[in-house]
Assembly symmetry: C2
Homo-oligomer: 413 residues x 2
Amino acid sequence: MKGFFQLISSADFLELFSRFSALDQETVPVTEALGRVPAGAGITAGEQLPPFSRSTMDGFAVRARDTFGCSESEPALLEIVGEIAMGSAGTAFTLKPGQAVRIWTGGELPKKGDGVVMVEYTHLMDEQTVEICRPVAPGENVIRAGEDFEPDSEILPEKRPLRPQDLGVLSGLGKTELTVHKQPRVGIISTGDELVPPDQPLGPGKIRDINSTTLAALVTEAGGIARCYGIIEDDLERMLAVCEAALQENDILLLSGGSSVGRRDFTLQVLEGLQGSELLAHGVAIRPGKPTLLAARGNRAVFGLPGHVASAMVVFYLFVRPLIRQFSGLGPTLGLQKITALTAEQIPSTIGREEYVRVSLKSGRENDPPLATPVYGRSGLLSPLVRADGLLVIGRDVKGLDKGARAGVLLFP
Amino acid sequence: MKGFFQLISSADFLELFSRFSALDQETVPVTEALGRVPAGAGITAGEQLPPFSRSTMDGFAVRARDTFGCSESEPALLEIVGEIAMGSAGTAFTLKPGQAVRIWTGGELPKKGDGVVMVEYTHLMDEQTVEICRPVAPGENVIRAGEDFEPDSEILPEKRPLRPQDLGVLSGLGKTELTVHKQPRVGIISTGDELVPPDQPLGPGKIRDINSTTLAALVTEAGGIARCYGIIEDDLERMLAVCEAALQENDILLLSGGSSVGRRDFTLQVLEGLQGSELLAHGVAIRPGKPTLLAARGNRAVFGLPGHVASAMVVFYLFVRPLIRQFSGLGPTLGLQKITALTAEQIPSTIGREEYVRVSLKSGRENDPPLATPVYGRSGLLSPLVRADGLLVIGRDVKGLDKGARAGVLLFP
């Protein structure tokens, strides 16, 4: 039978992504790089941060040895030779033995200065003389030049989306642009003669297209750039032409339509009919989400998603999102927070396939994980998705979970 | 003493936000509403979803009672009166007793039809006759009109950012625009004669402005719109003029500068010098983050943040982010995932203030929470922030945590 495939596991499905590689690079301003993934070799600091040794306190920069042995009862007397104003060169001063200079938090240390006495442990005798009541060790109350980053140190871990503090580091090192992987472009096509766009009136037997809006938002949430191609009627020629055009303009194509056997066959025909494409998967041993299709053409991927939006969302989170992440320069990971919960009731499941049960969560007893209650409802319904907080995972070798069992829950982002 | 305040707890600090209210409303396309918060009263469906009773299977729509008592050995014989093509009016058919009509998943049921027999449980005798081998109950394999949403049902919970499935529901109900709260505009001003912009060469005693980039990204991450006003020198007149202008254009103003006593006093002078502003807080009993200032003018807020970026980030996550969320139409909540972890080592802390310890997380033993290892480093350093996964919280009445203790960790988003 043409196109006959065995159901594969979700792990095997993700294995198929090894043929895809991260997208090309582009250069973006650091101020617009939140969430992007650096490309190429690790980024090195290139210079020291901080660029000079800085005081972490308001007080007096000293030669530490001049304070050794001093105390409240036997203070050290030092000569004040000046003040290092913020943003001025501390190295304009060179401390001789017995000398101190006023300094503020963040100020550059003077030459030969190697410690800072907090102002609280000093008494001013007159404008030229200060009593030091507590000794400092060399390096005390000082961040030394390069303590944060030395010029050859790698500043960011690989394969992690950039966070605010990462951008701060780059700014601190004078980097204003950054090479990152391009964001995956994801084309979305709905099929079905029964569909009308959300802004059109409903005719008899018609329903509005829900999947395009939902999938586009899921793409945005995952870090991709969504583009909707609207609703294409059940016409193979026309569908192939639109897919061909969309595949030129996108890295991933999502086809979603109804759940009838005819519609699934139609989607399969489309995937097999695309010039140069290779069908990689035809069915996954998960519920919901079994009738998922995957094809590749070069480094581009085409998914045939289940028709019901509840099923399509599960497939999106399990497979499309990881591929968007992989194209973005990350690993093919879910990028979803997974927590442990206790089941609030018994949950049935079938051996031989992984199940993803929509659950709502509420706080458990003190020190207990939260309680997960299934939000049942047929996969054609939307309201259970609105009430759910995430997906409880039941492994393929497990026949249901008892009430009070521990289970992993993938949280919606 | 003017401006003398007692340190307040973080809970009391959040209480101060009760004077601020959510921002005005604006109308946006549903396709651009991801993460936004609906404004006004709850949104009702306005129409039924689905708009008609739909089949959830491929098969035959029947009058259920015509199938009662049938079986493989004693099938019911029904007359096939036609096919309901996808997107056509099922109600064009009215089933008489003994009649059936072909239907596909998602199709509209015919009049008088109240159940669908899956094609697997039928045998075609000829073009006009079908054998039904298994009875269906009324409503079986049917989603009835309005089963998802009735016209007067509230479709979305209040005070939750819109998720992809929420936008799907709105599309399904024909709503293409939505009234949401405006996004908070957040102005960011750095102060300090020692600062230079990231794209400028460093002079002696100068460091690059790290806080502006970091805070702007934190604002974006929290759902606000950031605008940076650059670095303003230590000049009260000039600073007041810039703040006055920025306060016209923003809902929140963030001032950050050095950590010297002089700089803190300067920020306090600015907050007190703004026409019509009221100082609400001057110090919080948290570490880091103690020297935090808050002032209000009408429904606008001005924060004086600690100078070190590591401290400023903690204050941002604990206070600025909740205020952005409140202005956005949510509660003054952190909006951060909080997990339970086990401490990988003893962690000291001081009674009388909450502590927020940067930690990195790694998986614990099977069924155990993850292990949290403190990432120590002075608050002037950035590298610990880059290595940390979140903030471990130690309550104000707790004197340190033993190794292996359970503690809550706020995850960076």
